[in-house]
Symmetry: D2
Amino acid sequence: MTVRAAVAGASGYAGGELLRLLLTHPEVEIGALTGDSNAGRRLGALQPHLLPLADRVLSETTADVLAAHDVVFLALPHGRSAAVAEQLGPDVLVVDMGADFRLKDAADWERFYGSPHAGTWPYGLPELPGARAALEGSKRIAVPGCYPTAVSLALYPAYAAGLAGTEAVIVAASGTSGAGRTPKPHLLGSEVMGSMSPYGVGGVHRHTPEMIQNLSAAAGEPVTVSFTPTLAPMPRGILATCSATAREGVTAESLRAAYEKAFADEPFVHLLPEGQWPATASVHGSNAVQVQVTHDAAANRIIAISAIDNLTKGTAGGAVQSMNLALGLPEELGLSTIGVAP
Amino acid sequence: MTVRAAVAGASGYAGGELLRLLLTHPEVEIGALTGDSNAGRRLGALQPHLLPLADRVLSETTADVLAAHDVVFLALPHGRSAAVAEQLGPDVLVVDMGADFRLKDAADWERFYGSPHAGTWPYGLPELPGARAALEGSKRIAVPGCYPTAVSLALYPAYAAGLAGTEAVIVAASGTSGAGRTPKPHLLGSEVMGSMSPYGVGGVHRHTPEMIQNLSAAAGEPVTVSFTPTLAPMPRGILATCSATAREGVTAESLRAAYEKAFADEPFVHLLPEGQWPATASVHGSNAVQVQVTHDAAANRIIAISAIDNLTKGTAGGAVQSMNLALGLPEELGLSTIGVAP
Amino acid sequence: MTVRAAVAGASGYAGGELLRLLLTHPEVEIGALTGDSNAGRRLGALQPHLLPLADRVLSETTADVLAAHDVVFLALPHGRSAAVAEQLGPDVLVVDMGADFRLKDAADWERFYGSPHAGTWPYGLPELPGARAALEGSKRIAVPGCYPTAVSLALYPAYAAGLAGTEAVIVAASGTSGAGRTPKPHLLGSEVMGSMSPYGVGGVHRHTPEMIQNLSAAAGEPVTVSFTPTLAPMPRGILATCSATAREGVTAESLRAAYEKAFADEPFVHLLPEGQWPATASVHGSNAVQVQVTHDAAANRIIAISAIDNLTKGTAGGAVQSMNLALGLPEELGLSTIGVAP
Amino acid sequence: MTVRAAVAGASGYAGGELLRLLLTHPEVEIGALTGDSNAGRRLGALQPHLLPLADRVLSETTADVLAAHDVVFLALPHGRSAAVAEQLGPDVLVVDMGADFRLKDAADWERFYGSPHAGTWPYGLPELPGARAALEGSKRIAVPGCYPTAVSLALYPAYAAGLAGTEAVIVAASGTSGAGRTPKPHLLGSEVMGSMSPYGVGGVHRHTPEMIQNLSAAAGEPVTVSFTPTLAPMPRGILATCSATAREGVTAESLRAAYEKAFADEPFVHLLPEGQWPATASVHGSNAVQVQVTHDAAANRIIAISAIDNLTKGTAGGAVQSMNLALGLPEELGLSTIGVAP
């Protein structure tokens, strides 16, 4: 099977990472590439690391250009995917890398995004209970947010096993590519290097309801999430430090057993040996997730920490993994668990 | 008054930062400088940024060399300060930048440091309730750890005002200088750049009992602390993200009022205007502390975040501030609230 | 003497660094601060590291606002200084931190800057032969470019002593703050971190004629300059690697003697001991210049390398140093040779 | 054909990068892995980014362990390869990633390395004139140094076409992984971040004679090289800025034509479109080389700049490329021209 794929939003970081992965995917042929302000430009000027595509020229993002592909990836600003998807027809696999179709609760969507809810598509985090089945054969996929990917994988086993209290506290550090490629003063290299800073503090970050949705589903009861994202002086990577009160009787051993069971057959999630902790450099450019968990007996808390590459497993790699499932391809095809380090 | 100061451990990062500050302190004259493996070497080869001291040569760390100074700063590995301090006589002001005399509870010390407790000295965090009085005129000062400095200043007002529940959850990111200057594989630039990683997870970091001591004192009841330190790809700075359950009736306004009151007369702690959050770059090289606090109503948590320079306010600046108090000098002398940014 | 100083362009990196220095200058009182797009905003939101000025509000850049000061610093985009300076009257000391008045040759100016030449003011690099005298008592100062500062100080002693051939080859690495604070895609942290890249290659960088002017003056004959600037993943600092053919008879010793003589009385330029090489971290935030020179006998070339902080000695510190000379104050007043490292 | 490969020195950066590439090489099976001080340890603790090899345990580096493989890669400290290679027999393909067999001139070797010359093996830079033929079918390969790779590819076309004068001036910036994984004070993250510094200045760097060898061969006459390496605050990448006097009649067009011709059939060397310059981030993790060249008419110099990943094309990728040639496999097998950016 050769799958012809179009990428809308090929000049951004998510689009660039997706193309990096698709270039080595054995069943994918790269079709139309679109951009908006960059339409008409050579990809070599915009994504100079993608040498094999250097001479490709970006088109404008229209349904005409995107139609006639087997798969269309949408790496567009929030709120733009629905209009494009509608015109693509039910036989085209549409993979939305934006937020538009992630949330089930329309009120949550409206509160956090300020626009009408477009709907809900199968959620592209195959590792979550039940998610794989919903993705298989689907023609629509909502790729998760990068933070919810890191956080949900770190904490869902504790919730699914009934080990964690319902008030999760999460602090995550992200590389700057998570903030996108649009130039803004606070994202300048001069501002970012040598500095750690929080943003979206106090429950206002848009990924919060997505985490609540995932963890509550795993727990079978409502979970609250206190989420603080921070910007770290590195281009890629998310380190998510997640904790929750340990339910009575929880031990380091019962925690480890729950995580071993949860990840036993997962091709991309790697529970580290005891005593070894995740590092974002270890998953740089890879679709792997490093997880470690322990029990702080004095504070009676479960501490679960994950590291992902925000652009790979956190965005484009997750998209390809879900595409594979939707198309009936091997889930790991074209993806790697090997990082580029140091 | 001219104060003659000796620095034991002048070749490390804490010692270097201390010298940077003492060089511009109007009442201090820099006396003996010592190092161990570096005894006999020019300071210019070890601390090339301290040009005015480039031709100074390090001595070995002995009481003979350190005696005959008004102030002796000890920037030595943990466990070595007591033996030196004993030989220095009661009239010399001894400022210990190590951990030896920070903890009140001998059992805590022994559990976390694995050696007999040396005693407890006045604690050099003047902003804490009662701390200033204990420092004034003292001849012995225990400089706080860098993380406890950042965390205690972020959270004590909430505890002192009775607004926060007793289970604090803290995730902090530190620049690499906090790990010292002894070469270790995981501290190599190649490993550190582009990577975030946790360490000392699960309640085992040695700064944990110090935070518990400070926050419990502020609260007037025992506080537990879940503390996760992370290593960030930057040379300096600590960003501490601290949270606790909000007690009934807490609002963003009551929180802000408590913090405004706590910091109203503090020369170095700066509560940022609403909506602005701390950044480590803003306090680079300065003794300032940036703090912001909010209430996450959905999760019912207080989120307090602080940024310090781990070497300045977190170590050497804190030491000078306490020295000023001990000597009856103006507390701000020789210290700055101006950062070096970008 | 208290000097009242205004700063036009207080929201940029050069303006911010200037304010950082002026805040601790014992004879300066900071007056009006202006910005254009940022007029009306609190400085605390724009330069959060300058805590003592946090509540200052920026005015628009007009002659009315700037007049009635003893000194006016212009940190404006190229081409805007002349119009402002004209309205300020001959008694106000005007220090232009832009390029407008640096070049003597109008044709050079027009070729590199594409606009009519505004004139030539005394050149604010006091270390160059004859420069100090021209600055003393002057009411107009053209602050040098950051690269020409680093390069001229590294090479002029070799030219002044007749040791170097007339074809200089220079490769310099600059921190990103040298490119300013206007957000541009290639200056995003995501692009800059982990990357070295050249720009302005092939003799087209605007600082080239300024270097030629300085080195030719030192040599007493025309010098050509091949200059390649590169962008380095750090916020501050310039490392300039400069070389030229060694004239007959040149040895490491004769070179060293020439440099020792040139810098013997210089308060800010530090010829490192033999075998020690400059590092930008060592001059971070300081007005010091580290220089080292050697003779590559096999290639018969003089290699002279300097490190400066592009914002301090390379811009704002150089401006203050020249202001001091113009006002008859001690040249070193308010400036430091102590870097903030690590 | 399945090739069984052993790697001696699997715990260092070169060894780790080699394993990263071999893991996805379709014709290679990874056999014995050795280390010295790390013998007995799990690879997962040393190279946590290589998940598929996490459970492999390192052996000691002995000929017994390495024998019985088709290919043995030696990533050992300089001076150790000869003794190992001797014991491996003439049928084993031995790829030395150290310096021992790179230089043809024994006197050069002894002057720069201070030990007896071990011999000369076919030089693993296939792009150089004549190099490919010498590698095909060879059982011994000397992998070039990282700097000579970047520099030779940037400049040899100008020399081969007779366009450049014989005095080359080279300044290169390298990421810290080029300095290896042995912990040393100046390689600490705290020292490296935010700093540019030179080392090995004045013709003493060991890669200098290797560059001279390559460029002189291309020129057909002796070329001198003034080489200044600098350490940049990034983990990977080399940016080499190379220049030489332009011979009479050289123009930007004649230069470009020479480079287009030289690289026309090269799978890994990419001459960028006019006006676009190399960046190390664009080749991060890839075997690609970005090159650009221009003529500075005012200084009459050719400026040629290349960017490589020092660990990939500069070491391990170059090793695999040469292995492919030696074994009669397609030269590009298992290698990529796609970088991991941002």
